[in-house]
């Protein structure tokens, strides 16, 4: 909800036309860039993105950044696959991560010492197709309930399928599946005479796989099947009366999604050289969903970009306090710049925030020196800039916890109240947010990242359900 949205002028044709235009293009220079991007076709764009990804490691990425890139692309591949089921076919599959796990465990069993006397060590050109075909069959089996169950009921069954997978790998046949200890010592991806052992190799492999998958899916998107998926999503009854075999189309979506997930699983297992049941639990599922929702369900590029952004933030930036600090304050500033209009109001809010912070700091210091003894925990120049502005007590844990609770309450209040009160409430909220960040959030990055994922899902669904790159769907109300 934009702060200064003019509100729909009901019945005005001109408004409808402008709305369609607005839906298509972002405002200002972003829209111009979008139009320029549209002039070149989809495959040069994809090729350019792939080329950029290939060049990226030679710009001096360290081992850690490379690992982040690999993880991000695995999740991106999963998000692109999930997009088939959720974005196109409109089937809420909450057990999707089990296919990822199935692929990883399948590859692990076929290329380690787990099965048989001396183990099975198939080369990749045999094991990958076997795993993917098996995943397609499993996808068909899991998709079968979708013939009868719609909407929520399908979500329930698939959710429990995912949970059952984790329980299964944890408890059944520990000598083969390893139980909670998982399977270790998995072979790398091996062909005729070559094998991929370095992280650079897996990085390039993932770039190729991701680009090829996206290109194939782009072709599928406008094929008969792709159009049928979207038709079934919009209205199964109408689709059926247009002679689309609804059930078969749904099953195809499940199978296609499962194949992509299994492919991601095999690469993941080979790269990690080990698999554990917890790698395929609900948090990973939520991560994939966060990527898909952020980018926009229904758009291949959206799913990929969203997942990459989520993973780079989650895995990369939110580990060091300095980078996390840049991200946090940068995001707040960007949101304010984008959402607060006119500029006078923006200037007033910013000035009030700065003044309030300094005033509070001075008062707190006057009352007790230990109330400001902590100093900011973010690193870099942000810490220096904030030293006299944000209050950080010497013993920050309890104060930070209370601050967090109050902050959540204030954010809820901020959404509920009218425009005038929102302007008044903003400066104290911003000061409090900075306080909570410096005292609590930046200290516990592992928790902060999870909070962020949850917040992305809630906020995106309420503010921009079509995601960053997706197209808004106009739903006929029934």
């Amino acid at each position: 909800m934009s702060i200064d949205s003019p509100g729909p002028q009901v019945g005005a044709d001109e408004w409808v036309a402008r709305q369609a235009h607005r839906r298509e293009y972002l405002p200002s220079w972003l829209g111009r860039a979008q139009r320029a991007g549209e002039r070149i076709g989809w495959w040069p764009r994809l090729a350019l993105a792939g080329l950029a990804a290939v060049v990226l490691p030679s710009l001096g990425l360290g081992g850690f950044q490379l690992q982040v890139g690999i993880d991000a692309m695995v999740i991106a591949l999963l998000a692109v696959g999930l997009n088939i089921v959720v974005g196109w076919a409109g089937l809420l599959d909450l057990g999707y991560v089990a296919f990822f796990g199935f692929g990883a465990y399948g590859f692990a069993l076929l290329s380690s010492n787990q099965l048989g006397a001396s183990g099975i060590h198939l080369p990749a050109y045999l094991s990958l197709p076997i795993v993917m075909i098996a995943a397609a069959l499993l996808g068909l089996a899991v998709g079968l309930p979708s013939r009868r169950l719609i909407g929520d009921y399908l979500a329930i069954v698939t959710l429990f399928f995912g949970e059952a997978f984790v329980e299964f790998t944890n408890n059944v046949a520990p000598s083969k599946l390893g139980g909670p200890n998982g399977i270790t010592g998995i072979d790398p991806i091996r062909g005729f005479t070559w094998e991929i052992t370095s992280n650079y190799g897996y990085y390039y492999l993932l770039v190729i796989v991701l680009v090829v998958t996206m290109a194939v899916l782009r072709l599928v998107e406008y094929s008969r099947t792709g159009r049928a998926w979207r038709a079934v999503r919009e209205d199964p009854l109408a689709a059926a009366s247009m002679t689309i075999p609804v059930n078969r189309v749904k099953l195809a979506a499940f199978a296609a999604g499962a194949v992509v997930a299994a492919l991601a699983g095999t690469i993941y297992a080979a790269q990690q050289a080990s698999v554990f049941p917890t790698d395929f639990d609900t948090p990973v599922l939520i991560l994939i969903y966060a990527g898909l929702i952020l980018g926009g369900a229904g758009s291949i590029a959206g799913a990929c970009v969203g997942a990459l952004v989520v993973m780079v933030i989650y895995d990369g930036l939110l580990r060091s306090p300095t980078e996390a600090g840049y991200l946090f304050y940068g995001l707040i500033l960007l949101t304010l710049l984008a959402k607060l209009r006119p500029w006078r109001r923006l200037a007033a809010v910013l000035a009030a925030t700065v003044a309030l912070g300094f005033a509070a700091h001075t008062i707190a210091q006057a009352i007790s020196a230990s109330a400001v003894a902590g100093g900011p925990r973010s690193g870099g120049w942000i810490a220096d800039a904030l030293r006299d502005w944000v209050i950080v007590p010497a013993n920050a844990q309890t104060a930070g916890n209370w601050g967090f609770v109050v902050l959540v309450c204030m954010l809820i209040a901020l959404v509920q109240v009218g425009s005038r009160w929102r302007t008044i409430l903003l400066p104290p909220t911003l000061c409090l947010a900075s306080f909570v960040w410096e005292t609590t959030l930046v200290v516990q990055p592992s928790v902060t990242r999870q909070l962020m994922i949850g917040a992305i899902l809630i906020v995106m669904m309420n503010a921009r359900p079509q995601g960053l790159l997706g197209q808004r769907r106009v739903e006929a109300l029934t």
């Binding site: 809420l92 929520d152 329930i156 329980e167 408890n171 609900t282 967090f404 909070l451 949850g454 669904m461």
Partner: protein, 305 residues
Amino acid sequence: MSFFFQELVNGITTGALYSLVALGFSMVYGVLKLLNFAHGDLYMVGAYIGFFIIQFFGGAAHVGIPVPLLLAIMFVVAAGLVGGLGVAMERFAYRPLRDAPRIAPLITAIGISFFLESAALLLFGAQYRVYNTAEFISLSSGIRIGSVTIDSVQIMVLVLGLLLMTGLQLLVNRTKLGKQTRAVAADREAAEMLGINVNFVITATFFLGSALAGIAGVMGGLLFNTVTSTIGFIAGLKAFTAAVVGGIGSIPGAMLGGLVIGVAESFVTGYISSTYTNLIVFGLLIVVMLVRPSGLLGQVQLQKV
């Protein structure tokens, strides 16, 4: 045979707990047609609130006030706070999405669940919090029938659970609010046209359902002793199973489903192996969904397209 009855008693006690959580779940589904995945996390919040109230009154070993009073405070405060949390959740996250595509509130619910879980981790830390129930309630002062023991906490859970369920049943069937709730559940738009304050009914439903989850959280803390930020997820799944097995949206169904799940779990643990408990319970759910999607007591609904 005494083993059988002992397992049955344990199962019914756990089942009563699941029923309470499942009730709120089912009520919310009834009025909003929303699977509130965050419901299990309300149970977790309730359990934490109970723990901190024990700490506030001096800790389990030296409780400063009479134990019945302590228990009453725990239940009332947990019900109130968790109920309020449920209402806030509805107001903030679900109300704007009431007319959105069905998938949007579902994903929001997953987000809230994840958010609550990590917020608990942030605020209360990752360590296990222990109620130490045995230090302020003497567990041995229960009923013994032959070789079957029902300890005092189990008695309390059973009695309180029964009272709450009866009360809820009366509320839904005998009061005006209950009638309004049923009307909203049947058809929200028609109810609105008849002058029913739909927003109030939904808020009340969320409050009641969440309060029940909060009470169940305190009971779970007393019964199982340990609290951590992840108990909500598994409790939510069990309650979910209970609600679905009983017939989602149906209040007697949720009660029956909870008992079925509790007893089934107890027997599987007792007679087969505790490693397969969850697997078998989840399998049970999938089978029920496939054979009879409307659950044991649910009505078959024709879905409009």
